[in-house]
Symmetry: C2
Subunit: 325 residues, 2 copies
């Protein structure tokens, strides 16, 4: 009997790397992860990742055959197979990821931006099925984004289009510092880290009592703030509101630039539902030109938080196979 073909989809995040064995139908047969930030050397990281994939594949190897590796990573460049100046990853400068990976395999390896991978995942397997013009925004430690226009992912001239996390929310040097070296990037406001930073400022300005006053910055995370907001904590609710408004303000720009049918929010912060969607929607609408008002859907991703990028990254290999073989 012929073995079933599968692709290894890999999602490289600042904290974790998640990979899954994905069949043609988008089913993930097995999945595992390793800590991205434990590896300072890209060569050591790739070797550890490849070994972990091989170990995980061992159990299913009798039934399946790996046909390629699709990798999503922040600042991943599909043209060159590189990761370039990714602020949230341990490796600095331009990292030749595909090249290093290919020392371990002769199979095809494709690298792309993690949010672009999530957008492709949403298009093929999620809520954007059948849509031609939409945007996916991934809200994790940072903020990633991918644009689909006329049914195709937008790469631009150098493969770096669709990046809104590092556009500035306002000009001026007195703004929040970003890991990318700039100031006032959207990501410094709209991300799990941005939410924490906003909470601290609100806490400093206010005298409202809050359980959150007993947490250090390092102890806080989006989930703790989310739980507090659900209990009615004033500071936590204000932090979510501020985050949502900053997002909504920028989404008005995104709509004017790409005029999408829908914008999908994906990742940890999106799980806070109305706490983030309501102020984002309200402030987006408030800032939209009348021709766009009431036309753009702001929706939660229909893929579970961990699988969209894995599915999307794997689909790069399926697409390549169909067009080239």
């Amino acid at each position: 009997m012929a073995k079933k073909e599968i692709v290894v989809g890999i999602d490289i995040g600042g904290t974790n790397t998640i990979f899954g064995f994905v069949d043609r139908g988008g089913n993930i047969l097995a999945e595992d992860r390793l800590k991205t930030n434990h590896y300072e050397e890209i060569e050591v990281y790739v070797a550890a990742l490849y070994e972990k994939i091989m170990v995980a594949s061992h159990k299913i190897m009798e039934e399946v055959e790996i046909i390629g590796f699709g990798i999503g990573a922040p600042m991943g460049n599909i043209n060159k197979g590189t990761i370039e100046y990714a602020a949230g990853l341990p490796w600095k400068g331009i990292v030749p990821l595909a090249e290093v990976f290919k020392r371990h395999t002769t199979l095809p390896v494709i690298v792309t931006n993690d949010a672009n991978a999530a957008a492709v995942g949403e298009m093929i397997y999620g809520g954007a099925k059948g849509m031609k013009n939409f945007v996916v925004i991934t809200l994790g430690t940072g903020l990633g984004s991918g644009f689909v226009i006329d049914g195709k992912l937008v790469y631009g001239q150098d493969g770096f289009a669709g990046e809104i996390g590092h556009t500035a929310i306002r000009p001026g040097p007195s703004n929040r510092e970003c890991g990318c070296g700039r100031k006032g990037c959207l990501e410094t406001y709209v991300s799990a880290t941005g939410l924490k930073r906003s909470l601290l400022k609100i806490m400093a300005d206010s005298i409202e009592p809050s359980d959150l006053r007993s947490y250090s910055f390092n102890e806080l995370d989006a989930e703790i703030i989310h739980e507090a907001a659900k209990r009615g904590d004033y500071l936590a609710k204000r932090a979510f509101e501020h985050t949502g408004r900053m997002l909504g303000f920028k989404l008005a720009d995104v709509v004017a630039h790409t005029n999408p049918e829908a914008i999908f929010l994906f990742g940890g912060l999106a799980l806070a539902k109305d706490l983030i969607f309501e102020p984002a929607k309200e402030y987006m609408e408030e800032n939209l030109l009348s021709i766009y008002k009431g036309k753009v859907k702001l929706l939660p991703s229909e893929l579970s938080t961990q699988n969209a990028a894995v599915l999307g990254a794997s689909s790069l290999i399926w697409t390549m196979k169909e067009s080239n073989f």
Copy 2:
């Protein structure tokens, strides 16, 4: 002998409407104009425009045959043939331009955004020949823009993509009022009118002497300020610098969104050359993420100020003819 086929390209601006008879090679055989803002009723305007076109065509009618009308207008919608809520035009709300125009002719009539028309003109006849990813920004009374991605003009879901003039330069209610009803739009800073508004603010804050202090707001225009800047007028130079910086700040966002090979500036303000290009380039580069730095060309349009939109609008008909006939 068969008559030469021509298209009437029409560029509707806030002040003037310009039309030209364009052949397949992009040559404008004849050209004329009428005052847009003299007509409060769209029906009366279209009737006057159509009549003027017929009169102008009379002289060349023995050699040529009109095969269609391509119209570029602010907020022109290619899907519906409408102009929708164009702040700078006399007609309010949704104007069924193509429908009104077709009361006069059975030939094809296509309406599009004027800046999109300019982008197509630049791609077919100007400096963007052979480019796949670029942006055209038209700087007139207002600010228009068109995005080309992967060789195709970006329309988006409802035909209104690529609009940067009405994205806000910063959040907040204390900003400059825009004709669109919002506050702080890029157009209120970066346009001939925006330049005047910036000049007034700078004049108010400064005690520097300047010839421009003897002009009223209504008397001032971009050309007067440009001439003053060339003479070394401090206030005029500061006004251009501010305009260029605001443009550059926003261009950094445009680059992050679309990752173009080049951005073309077109129209009156672009004629001020270094006065606008230098601060725009400098501030764009300063605000770019490292992956984009030094890669995006900021260029003047290679088409004369009045012809890009006429050429681009006419090319819509040629493209339609080639794909449908």
